[in-house]
């Protein structure tokens, strides 16, 4: 994909997503695709720090959940307009990323991973002990009035999530080809050497974590509107973080295409099989898939495609 064509692809995709519900009226499709797209966006966001930078975030559900609760609280309890609630959710999630970043991104990757696990526990505890956020009982979301465009909430949500995914992919593609991506990949390969070569490692990791957190928060902020009810056990579940990580890994970690492929493939299978992401069966299959790929093809599906079709541009893969 040539650089100067990319913005065009972006706009065409956005337009496609926006127009689709006008012509295709199949509610089940939108309900299912929303979840698949949600995982596409989460995986692409995760990959920014995890794939390019090599710092694995095991707390995706924390950022996702923070976004969901902030927007649910603002929209539901305070009556703030949805769009503002969504942006605020992203901002809080980004701030959360800053805090975790300052706590652990100056240390080795292992400590960051552990810190994200701890952060998930912390946020979950905060929600459980805050009556205004529903505590253990959860929050029921009052549905907004049917939107003027599309006339159907699920179609609007689909378009929103589609847009977020496309924008995330665009950001990821841009980062991969920019100096930020180059710096992240250098520090992933050898952080000490990268520092000696002038790469501001902490700053880059922090940027990646904050951007990743913002995107995850925005994705999470739409979830309450989709599902109608949120509670702290399922939304902060480790299984969500695990799922996102494996999707990126299976698809091809550290490439802009990888998370898309992994989320589309695994997400679609999960939707078709109607499994709950956090259920035993799903987790077992996902974990097994991860181990298989980890041992035989760490480059993921994208790695397999690249090996089969050579190093030419992978425009055909999408």
């Amino acid at each position: 994909m040539k650089r100067n064509l990319a913005p065009m692809y972006l706009l065409v995709s956005l337009a496609f997503g926006a127009i689709l519900p006008v012509f295709y009226k199949q509610p089940y499709f939108y309900f299912a695709s929303y979840i698949v797209l949600q995982y596409v966006a989460l995986s692409v966001a995760w990959n920014l720090l995890g794939g390019y930078g090599g710092y694995l975030n095991f707390g995706t559900s924390a950022f996702f959940g923070v976004g969901a609760y902030v927007s649910a609280y603002l929209f539901n309890s305070l009556g703030i307009p949805e769009v503002i609630a969504i942006l605020a959710a992203g901002a809080v999630s980004a701030l959360f990323g800053v805090l975790i970043g300052y706590s652990s991104l100056r240390l080795r990757g292992v400590y960051f991973a552990i810190a994200t696990l701890a952060a998930t526990t912390l946020v979950q505890s905060i929600v459980l002990n805050t009556p205004a956020l529903g505590s253990a009982v959860g929050l029921y979301i009052r549905f907004p009035a049917a939107p003027a465009i599309y006339g159907n909430l699920i179609e609007l949500l689909f378009v929103a999530m589609f847009g977020i995914s496309v924008v995330s992919i665009g950001l990821s593609y841009w980062i991969e080809n920019s100096w930020i991506g180059r710096g992240l990949m250098a520090l992933r390969d050898d952080e000490q050497a990268a520092e000696t070569l002038g790469v501001p490692t902490f700053r880059l990791k922090l940027y990646a974590n904050v951007l990743s957190g913002f995107l995850m928060g925005v994705v999470g902020s739409l979830y309450p509107l989709y599902i109608g009810y949120i509670e702290p056990y399922s939304i902060f579940d480790l299984g969500i973080s695990f799922n996102v990580f494996v999707m990126t890994f299976i698809g091809g970690i550290g490439t802009w295409q990888g998370p898309i492929i992994g989320a589309l493939v695994l997400g679609s299978i999960q939707q078709a099989a109607s499994v709950t992401v956090t259920s035993q069966y799903n987790l077992a299959v996902v974990a097994a898939a991860m181990l298989v790929f980890g041992i035989f093809s760490p480059g993921g599906l994208k790695g397999i495609f690249s090996r089969l079709f050579g190093k030419r541009s992978t425009g055909t893969v999408n």
């Binding site: 100096w179 070569l197 002038g198």
Partner: protein, 237 residues
């Protein structure tokens, strides 16, 4: 140009450096020698910023850099090579050299141009033919040459070399020393940590000797070769 005072470093229970004073003049050729484990690499790492000193201060061109991070020191003009090469393994040799061009010299735009500069640097160390290869396809020697090319990419004013001649044939070593003399001629101060006595004695204007983390001698190569303390440190090993 570089002034380090009272540098002390402990690793767990092991004292790697004790109260070492170390200075490098502008454009100087300095040799840093000593038996294995004397703290030479630790000292280089502290100057480069990869390791923080427990006690003491470092000043570079008059400015206190004791707490300055390594990437900022690289931008200030301190370059270093690693004793065991640390390649960026997911990138090609060319891309390895492009990283410091982007981050130290700020050559972001027009990738074609940056690649040309990178290729030129590889040519200086004789690796231009292998530019599109991955580090795992290179020999240890070639990786060490990569280290040198990367360090030079940042246009350093102070170059810290950690055993850059190890394993080279005497002809190859002479070539590298020639290259270094040329760089020095352009005003780059060079600190050479080396075990190959002939090379380091021939190259350096001044020698500093470490043993068990303590500076035991300092002077020009002639004085050092005859210093009984130095001989004792090496032979009494």
């Amino acid at each position: 140009m570089l002034d380090a005072k009272g540098v002390t470093k402990n690793f767990g229970g092991v004292r790697a450096l004790s109260d070492v004073d170390f200075r490098v003049e502008k454009g100087e050729r300095l040799g840093l020698i000593g038996p294995n484990g004397s703290g030479k690499t630790t000292l280089l790492s502290i100057i480069a910023g990869t390791i923080r000193t427990d006690k003491g201060r470092l000043a570079y061109k008059g400015r206190d850099i004791t707490r300055v991070s390594p990437h900022k020191r690289a931008k200030l003009g301190i370059g270093r090579t690693f004793q065991i090469p640390k390649p960026l393994s997911s990138m090609t040799l060319l891309d390895n050299v492009i990283v410091p061009l982007v981050f130290i010299r700020g050559l972001h735009n027009k990738d074609g141009e940056t690649s040309d500069v990178a290729l030129e640097l590889l040519q200086q160390v004789g690796l231009s033919a292998k530019a599109s290869l991955r580090p795992k396809q290179l020999t240890q020697l070639e990786l060490r040459e990569m280290e040198l090319a990367r360090a030079l990419a940042g246009k350093p004013e102070l170059l810290l070399l950690d055993e850059v001649l190890a394993g080279l044939t005497s002809g190859e070593a002479d070539d590298v020393v020639e290259l270094l003399r040329g760089l020095n001629g352009r005003g780059i101060a060079i600190v050479m940590v080396e075990h190959i006595m002939r090379a380091v004695m021939g190259f350096s204007q001044r020698i500093v000797v470490l043993d068990f983390g303590v500076k035991i001698a300092e002077g020009d190569p002639e004085e050092i070769s005859n210093d009984p303390e130095v001989l004792k440190a090496y032979i009494g090993e």
